[in-house]
């Protein structure tokens, strides 16, 4: 029987994430992949602005904290100077798909050989539940109190669909962390996204649909159902681009 132990890539630390948040699971998956690929001592991670800004408190590897939305640019500077190191960004929806849209699209289109972990929980978590670029139509947030779409907010931005049009991109997959099966699929996708970089194949991005019970104002169980029943309908899971297989 398998026992669950902490991988060495995760530090011993008390989590600051809320109960039912998906970041803890995703952090662990990134750490397990780095451990299994044996790349901890040549990995440099970038932390975003948002709930995951403190990612360096948990990950036991070199890390750099970036301005909001700029991780793909910072990662470009690092990777270009250290092409044999493994460089990843870990970004939320506000960071990657709103303030950092230009950095995301252009790093992808240049085919930067980096790995992007994109956590989509359809809300600005750290600032207290404002509308994100990925907030669902009709979804209430502190800045879309009548539900998104009533006052010219537009529909949610679909990052994998958008990036799939770019020739420079190697691999795009959307997964979730709302069921054990989804967690396993996410780990497989993250591992592939890192392996692609090790193999020098270029820009890989895994979009992870994740729970935010606190800012969704739901119980942890209900938040899981919201991902499974609502988010997956709008953000369909699957591989959007794969130039490897």
């Amino acid at each position: 029987m398998a026992t669950l132990t902490r991988t060495d890539v995760l530090k011993e630390a008390q989590t600051h994430y809320c109960p039912g948040c998906g970041h803890g699971i995703t952090h662990r998956l990134v750490a397990e992949v780095i451990n299994e690929l044996g790349i901890r001592e040549r990995t440099i991670g970038t932390a975003p602005v948002g709930c995951a800004v403190l990612m360096y408190d948990y990950l036991n590897c070199d890390m750099i904290e970036c301005a909001h939305g700029r991780p793909p640019a910072v990662a470009t500077g690092i990777k270009r100077m250290l092409p044999d190191r493994i460089v990843f960004t870990y970004q939320g929806d506000g960071d990657l798909a709103a303030i950092g849209t230009a950095e995301t699209i252009h790093a992808a289109n240049r085919g930067e050989n980096i790995t992007v972990i994109f956590v989509n929980n359809a809300i600005y978590g750290m600032t207290g539940g404002q509308m994100a670029p990925t907030t669902l139509t009709g979804m209430v947030s502190t800045t879309s109190q009548d539900g998104r779409g009533q006052h010219g907010e537009g529909p949610p931005l679909k990052v994998c669909e958008l990036l799939s049009a770019l020739d420079g991109v190697c691999y795009l997959e959307r997964t979730a962390v709302s069921t054990p099966k989804d967690v396993n699929a996410t780990k497989r996708a993250i591992k592939k996204a890192f392996q692609n970089q090790i193999d020098g194949r270029g820009f890989s991005l895994v979009e992870v649909l994740s729970m935010c019970p606190t800012d969704w104002k739901m119980s942890t169980a209900k938040a899981v159902s919201f991902v499974n029943d609502e988010m997956k309908k709008v953000f369909q899971l699957g591989v959007y681009k794969d130039t490897v297989s």
């Binding site: 890390m63 910072v74 500077g77």
Partner: protein
């Protein structure tokens, strides 16, 4: 002098950076600095370096942030509107104490302004520019040989103090051509080992480069006090200016950058007419060379500040001279530049007024 070649200012600055070991450059097109990214795009691959044409100034400065964290000597350049965009990243780089060089080939503002030379970004450069309490080391060359030397020095000061350094040029300096001797780089300082470098934590504890300080509660105060102590140290160690004909001067002219060069010509002409006038040309704009002004103010009848703006450095001159003598101003922004004759005329009228004032006192 075998290696003396004719280059434009923007190319001089680029080649100096290459000679100084700059191996990463990210930039974005904007006039009048386009020759910098153009030159770098060709030269960087030749020396095994990296050139990236970024999608924006924001991206360019953040690429520099990343490259600097790897221990690479790195640089970005732009002109006024683009420098405004870079301020976010400059604040982070200053806060994280990473070395880099940023060139501002100034043009007219505010807004899109025009593409003529200007010195309207003095305040932005020396007083901060981005958010938070920080300082850039700001250098102001007035000739292309000086631009060449100062650009090489900029990389040393950036590494030595772990601080971003700005070269504050302008459209004239960037676009004009002058013969420059391409001298090999020699470090001017005993440079410290870079112990902040992120290159994977093989054989050591992981490192974090960051600017967020939440814990302990007074951690950010302590970090800021550490930065301020560094700035005090830089102020005590680094202060450069050129003094010309100041020994017996009664009128002091002060101007920086290309304006300083024109003012020097005007001082020369005024001396030929027998006027006791001298020039103080600050080369470091931050730290500002205060002492020459404090000294001058003890004997000067008047000080004249000339700038291609509506009066920015004059505030530092007034502070440094402790308002001990009258400080006059000659300048305009938006594309105006002084000639030696315009400055000479002003010097002559000041000399005449101080003579009549002296007579009146008798």
């Amino acid at each position: 002098m075998a290696n003396k070649i004719l280059l434009k200012g923007n190319e001089v600055m680029s080649e100096a950076a290459i000679q100084a070991g700059c191996r990463f450059f990210a930039g974005y097109p904007i006039t009048p600095q386009n020759e910098v990214p153009e030159y770098m795009s060709k030269r960087m691959p030749e020396v095994g370096g990296v050139f990236v044409q970024a999608e924006s100034e924001l991206a360019a400065i953040n690429m520099v942030f990343g490259a600097s964290a790897t221990g690479t000597r790195c640089m970005t350049s732009s002109s006024s509107p683009g420098i405004s965009l870079k301020q976010e990243g400059i604040s982070y780089i200053a806060g994280a104490e990473l070395p880099c060089v940023i060139a501002n080939v100034q043009r007219g503002g505010p807004g899109l302004g025009n593409i003529r030379a200007s010195q309207g970004d003095y305040f932005q450069a020396v007083k901060g520019g981005g958010h938070g309490d920080y300082h850039l080391i700001v250098l102001s060359p007035s000739t292309l040989p000086e631009l060449y030397t100062l650009t090489m020095n900029a990389f040393d000061w950036a590494d030595y103090y772990r601080n971003p350094v700005m070269i504050l040029g302008d459209g004239i300096l960037g676009q004009m051509a002058e013969p420059v001797e391409i001298l090999p780089y020699e470090p001017i300082l005993d440079l410290p080992k870079k112990d902040f470098v992120l290159d994977g934590c093989k054989g050591r504890q992981p490192r974090v480069v960051k600017t967020l300080v939440l814990k302990p509660a007074d951690g950010l105060i302590a970090h800021n006090e550490h930065l301020q102590a560094k700035y005090k140290r830089i102020e005590s160690e680094l202060s450069l200016c050129e003094e010309y004909e100041t020994a017996d001067a009664e009128i002091f002219v002060s101007a920086f950058g290309i304006t300083g060069r024109i003012a020097k010509g005007a001082v020369r002409l005024a001396r030929e007419k027998g006027i006791a006038v001298g020039l103080i040309r600050p080369i470091t704009l931050w730290p500002f060379p205060k002492e020459p002004f404090a000294l001058a103010a003890e004997t000067a009848r008047q000080i004249l500040v000339v700038e291609m703006n509506f009066g920015q450095m004059i505030e530092d001159v007034q502070l440094a001279s402790k308002c001990a003598c009258p400080v006059e101003f000659l300048g305009k922004g938006g594309g105006w530049y002084p000639t030696e004759e315009i400055i000479l005329e002003k010097i002559e009228s000041m000399a005449a007024s101080s003579v009549s004032a002296a007579k009146g006192n008798k």
